[in-house]
């Protein structure tokens, strides 16, 4: 039997950073040094999961399943993985499921995906009460892993072991804004023996004495620190200035190690969240291929960028500060039947191209705008297509959770035009001719319905150079 392996992986780190110093000065407390990542007002765990997964460039190799792990699902009583499935433009045949709850869901998603040659999407958005450690030390982000038992895996799973116990370390009742935690020392004493046990069994099963790299992820900060000290890797761990990212945390940290690991190296992944799970992986020769490219889009590279956020803006985005809305009606809630009919368009940004004249229609339409030929259209996916700003405007009247709203008219490379909202960009730097790419976002939420659609953001530096001309 061929061992399950990671065929490809990708991380997504949102653009915004909250400096601890800024947090401290806003609340007149000692913020300390460091920063956390913050999802934009138009992002949630589903959109970040899409952003990570679409970087895998799945192409025609559609995964048979998606396991989506998060502690902050955008919906409950409705699967969120289906929106990820739709946004990736995957075939209807296939499985998509959420593992929503605690950070340990991440391990569940990874194991289920490994067992079924599927896709694991780990995404999280961590909050806490203003001034809390959860707020300061949390982070937002996502990672995606495509498993397969075929050749070409970047890393294979050698062994896994788990230990489980019921104890109260942290908890949150549904609907509550912030989690609560028991005394820190109690959690530490519960976790350490479980970790010790799981790690020992995993290493023994893998026949590995000391791993080259060790990844530790735990919502219990002291446990994470102690475990890292007790099980050092041969290669010293590089600290990531990201904050603890919940269910996405093990994925982001594993991705960061894969970004720099060489062939034939072992990785010990330890997750201590309501128990302990240890996995031992070994990289293959394939990891040497495309390493530079992966590093350029890697976790550390993404963390190196980013825009500083004011604390008041952070609070507004998290819904912790209710601001005066513009004197405009709320937009209408998207209706279920039209949204379902438009699945390929709304979720996967698929237009239509006229077979007779080649004109690209965004959104898809049955009668050609140029030659009026009827029902001779092919679907054309545009989500991966960069484009150029034809013209733009800053709208100070429009309804937006973060006014003003910038609209750009985008002409896509290879044809097609659409008006999109600009996000993650500094409006003052937009000009006619600015290069942009699409990103999956939440336009607004009305009556509990999240209006998912695409926006434009300034093209990541280096993306144009990667294109073949």
């Amino acid at each position: 039997m061929t061992a399950a392996g990671i065929q490809s992986y990708a991380a997504y780190v949102p653009s915004f950073r909250l400096e601890h110093e800024e947090l401290g000065s806003a609340l007149t407390v000692r913020g300390g040094r460091g920063r956390r990542t913050v999802a934009s007002f138009d992002e949630d765990t589903t959109t970040m999961g899409v952003e990570a997964a679409r970087r895998l460039a799945l192409g025609s190799a559609a995964p048979p399943s998606i396991h989506f792990a998060t502690t902050a699902p955008a919906y409950v009583d409705k699967t969120n993985a289906t929106a990820i499935h739709a946004a990736l433009g995957l075939d209807h045949r296939g499985f998509a499921v959420d593992l929503a709850g605690s950070a340990r869901s991440a391990v569940g998603a990874l194991r289920a995906a490994a067992a079924g040659d599927g896709l694991a999407v780990l995404s999280d958005l961590r909050s806490g009460r203003p001034g809390s450690a959860d707020e300061r030390d949390g982070g937002d982000g996502a990672a995606a892993f495509r498993f397969g038992s075929g050749d070409g895996a970047l890393a294979v799973v050698l062994a896994e072991a788990s230990a489980t116990a019921e104890f109260l370390d942290r908890w949150r009742a549904p609907g509550e804004q912030a989690s609560r935690q028991w005394e820190e020392r109690f959690g530490l004493e519960q976790y350490l023996p479980l970790v010790q046990d799981a790690v020992a069994r995993a290493l023994a099963a893998a026949g590995v004495e000391q791993a080259d790299h060790v990844v530790v992820s735990s919502p219990h900060a002291r446990t994470a620190a102690q475990v890292a000290k007790r099980f050092p890797g041969r290669t010293p761990a590089t600290p990531l200035a990201i904050g603890y990212c919940g269910a996405a945390d093990p994925g982001l940290r594993l991705a960061a190690v894969l970004d720099r690991a060489g062939p034939g190296e072992t990785i010990l992944l330890i997750v201590a969240a309501d128990g302990a799970d240890a996995s031992v992986l070994r990289t293959t020769d394939a990891i040497a291929t495309g390493r530079g490219e992966r590093a350029r889009a890697g976790v550390e590279a993404q963390l190196a960028g980013g825009r500083a956020l004011r604390y008041a803006t952070y609070l507004t985005w998290r819904g912790l500060l209710e601001r005066e809305p513009p004197r405009r009606p709320e937009p209408d809630r998207p209706a279920a039947p039209p949204s379902a009919r438009a699945e390929a368009w709304k979720f996967a940004f698929t237009g239509s191209r006229c077979r007779a004249c080649g004109f690209v229609h965004v959104p898809p339409i049955r009668v050609c705008k140029r030659c009026r030929t009827v029902d001779e259209m092919d679907p054309i996916p545009l989500a991966a297509q960069p484009g150029t700003v034809a013209t733009f405007t800053v709208d100070r009247l429009a309804f937006s959770p973060s006014p003003p709203l910038t609209n750009v008219v985008v002409d896509f490379d290879g044809g097609g035009r659409y008006t999109l909202e600009l996000t993650d960009g500094d409006p003052s730097t937009v000009a006619i001719g600015t290069r942009v790419e699409t990103t999956f976002r939440r336009l607004y939420t009305v009556e509990g319905v999240h209006n998912y659609f695409w926006k434009a953001r300034p093209l990541a530096v280096g993306r144009d150079e990667d294109e073949e001309h």
């Binding site: 009606p329 709208d395 009247l397």
Partner: protein
């Protein structure tokens, strides 16, 4: 585009127009009664009983012909309610004219009304069809959509943005100046250019003074066959052309569209001039009531209507070509800028200015013996809109 037109076949013999403004104390019903009563009071030969049929334009102040029949307590008359975005009032007029021209009715009234100030919001509020939540109209406001004209126009014609800003300012200044002379206008004050140029930004470079206001109002017109016109008034006005198109909405999808023109307006202008026998609009048209929803719109319209060469309208505007004493008086009554834009009423309000000008009743705004006038509405946004143009004249032939 083929249209035979109805040149000189129908005439307007009576009109009414309420003051436009924030009518907190008056309902849409009140405004309809006010406008129609004014019309009947000034047209002694016709009572409401004599009107064979009605066309009512309203975008969002009610549905069905009963919006009119109920407040007017009409005696079981046909009332057709129409809606066509910002051309709604003009659309009521257009279809009323065709009803008379067809011979189906002898006397028809076109009425338009809109009650916008009851919503509590700024700007237009419209109800959308249930959708998938992806249409840009859901999040892009009208001022933002029209603000796209400004940078696109500057880029295409190499116009210095400051010159364009000055031209936009001149449009607002001119229309407010005209409106100051109009007792029915919502805003009756001249506004200094410095104040216009420095007004708080709404979208792009459009400030508050680059946008038309929001108001309530109603207006109406009585239409009869041209040969019967003098039975009802000694100074009827004659319909020379009616042109309307609903665009295919290509602009937002077509990379070839550059946001410097409204093809819908180009087509309706061409058609209307052909119907009216106009060969040189610049010298033949005396006044034009155009859809100045936002200041750059009026600049682009001057080119689409053939009043200016391409890329030159900004200059003509600054030279005063469209001032009250210019070569064509554009928005002599103050335009949407001074009246606001109660959607169902605006088109008929524009005709009311032609009516007053041709009859010599325009007071301080009176032009010297105008003969031909145009009214125009644009509904939608650049690249995706409807356009209406009428040509009306003082005389037959």
């Amino acid at each position: 585009m083929a249209s035979n037109g109805i040149r000189d076949r129908v005439a307007i013999v009576g009109m009414g127009c309420t003051p436009f403004g924030e009518h907190w104390g008056r309902s849409a019903d009140d405004l309809l009664v006010d406008a129609t009563q004014e019309c009947f009071a000034s047209t002694p030969g016709i009572t409401v009983e004599d009107v064979d049929a009605f066309w009512l334009g309203t975008m969002s102040s009610g549905q069905s012909g009963m919006v009119l029949s109920k407040p007017l307590s009409l005696d079981y008359k046909p009332v057709t309610r129409v809606e066509n975005f910002c051309a709604t009032g003009s659309e009521a007029f257009r279809n009323a004219c065709y009803a008379v021209a067809s011979g189906a009715y002898d006397r028809v009234m076109a009425v338009g009304v809109e009650k916008l100030k009851d919503s509590g919001y700024s700007g237009l509020v419209r109800s959308n069809v249930a959708g998938d939540g992806t249409a840009p109209e859901l999040t892009v406001t009208a001022p933002a959509a029209f603000s796209l004209l400004d940078p696109a126009y500057c880029k295409r014609y190499g116009v210095d943005p400051q010159d364009m800003r000055d031209a936009m300012t001149h449009v607002a200044w001119k229309n407010h100046r005209n409106g100051a002379l109009n007792e029915r206008a919502q805003f009756r004050k001249e506004v200094p250019k410095e104040k216009i140029a420095a007004s708080p930004l709404v979208a792009g470079r459009l400030g508050v003074f680059d946008c038309s206001g929001v108001s309530d109002g109603a207006a109406c017109a009585l239409i009869v066959r041209a040969e019967d016109a003098y039975e009802y008034t000694d100074r009827p006005i004659f319909v020379k052309a009616l042109s309307f198109v609903a665009g295919p909405a290509n602009g937002p999808m077509d990379p070839a569209y550059d946001y410097t023109s409204f093809e819908e307006v180009v087509r309706t202008a061409k058609d209307a001039y052909a119907q009216a026998g106009i060969t040189d609009p610049r010298t033949q048209i005396d006044l034009a009531e155009v859809h100045d929803c936002f200041t750059p719109t009026e600049i682009v319209l001057m080119e689409d209507m053939g009043f200016s060469e391409r890329g030159q309208a900004w200059r003509d505007v600054l030279d005063g070509a469209f001032d009250l004493d210019g070569r064509i008086a554009v928005n002599a009554d103050g335009g949407l800028k001074s009246f606001g834009h109660p959607v169902g009423a605006s088109g008929l309000r524009m005709l009311f200015e032609c009516w007053q000008q041709f009859r010599g009743e325009a007071g301080e705004r009176q032009l010297a013996d105008p003969k031909l006038g145009m009214t125009h509405n644009l509904g939608g946004r650049p690249g995706t809109c409807v356009s209406f143009i009428s040509i009306v004249g003082k005389e037959q032939g």
